[in-house]
Point group: C2
Chain length 145, copies 2
DNA sequence: CGGATAATGTTATTATATAACGTTTAAGGC
DNA sequence: GCCTTAAACGTTATATAATAACATTATCCG
């Protein structure tokens, strides 16, 4: 149960550290209100939605947290801060997500935008489906139908 | 100001037609509440959020409307129904969007997912930046600084 | 017609996010 | 240290987005 380590300890405030720690401890994305409801968070003294959102904003600025648009939820970035496009695989069964690198594809996508005269700031890719575990479970269910 | 035409007239209900017509008449994505506030919509007798959401759900089922996750808004599909991934360029200045085809890139993205054992159902790409008009306006502003 | 299915109407409620404003804390210059 | 300033925080209220629950009506098919 490491408290804020290495690069995080440098510039994170108490609230930011608490929120980041909550996301690290979760096995899937959490909404702001999910975070707000965690006992650890309440005990740390965070008790208003705005407090959570403010911490999340700063964490996203620093690239430590990503927002999953299609879930209105937030997840810790396990890739270390990066500037390339964020890509997520989202399991519609269990809600878990997996972040993937898109270095190469990003160029292709941004190129498509430039063709249209668009100046791209950020690229977000979200793919919905079933994770390996849930796909296996589903296959098992259909065999025993 | 054509009322529901061609393929739409076939299976759209009154509410669905009204909502689709509203989206077609807009020059950018509209939220459900934006739609609800339109005089044409009120006059057509639609007056509850749920009415709008139900119509939008059906329109999305039919591929006539897309949801822009990062705006919580909806936009008419001007590509005709399609099964490939949806990609959107979103102007953070004026709010307008442009739909782009991603046929080729989709395979690449889905392949990246399969590497991870993920079974992909849907791919969504949203790119934020500035549209040609707004980029030009910004350039003009900076010259006259 | 009669029965099933899909769509709608209505009200209330839940979920997500921000506004406004004052106070406290942290950081840096002198 | 002390002053200045900017950032972060606390608190309350409010705005925005989406769904639940349940009764009613339209549509389709045999
Ligand atoms: Zn990341
Ligand atoms: Zn899963
Ligand atoms: Zn489309
Ligand atoms: Zn623009």
């Amino acid at each position: 149960m490491a408290e804020p380590t290495a690069n995080e300890g440098q510039s994170l405030t108490r609230n930011q550290g608490a929120v980041l720690s909550a996301l690290k401890g979760a096995d899937k994305p959490l909404t702001a209100y999910d975070i707000l409801g965690l006992p650890k968070i309440r005990k740390a003294g965070l008790k208003a939605p705005l407090t959570i959102y403010r911490a999340l904003d700063k964490l996203m600025d620093q690239g430590l947290v990503h927002r999953i648009e299609s879930l209105n939820a937030f997840v810790h970035c396990d890739h270390g801060p990066h500037d390339h496009a964020t890509g997520f695989l989202i399991c519609s069964d269990c809600g878990r997500t997996l972040e993937v690198h898109l270095d190469d594809c990003e160029d292709h996508l941004a190129g498509r935008a430039r063709e249209q005269g668009f100046a791209v700031d950020a690229v977000k890719v979200e793919m919905t489906g079933r994770c390996p575990d849930c796909a296996a479970a589903e296959a098992a269910r259909s065999r025993t139908s």
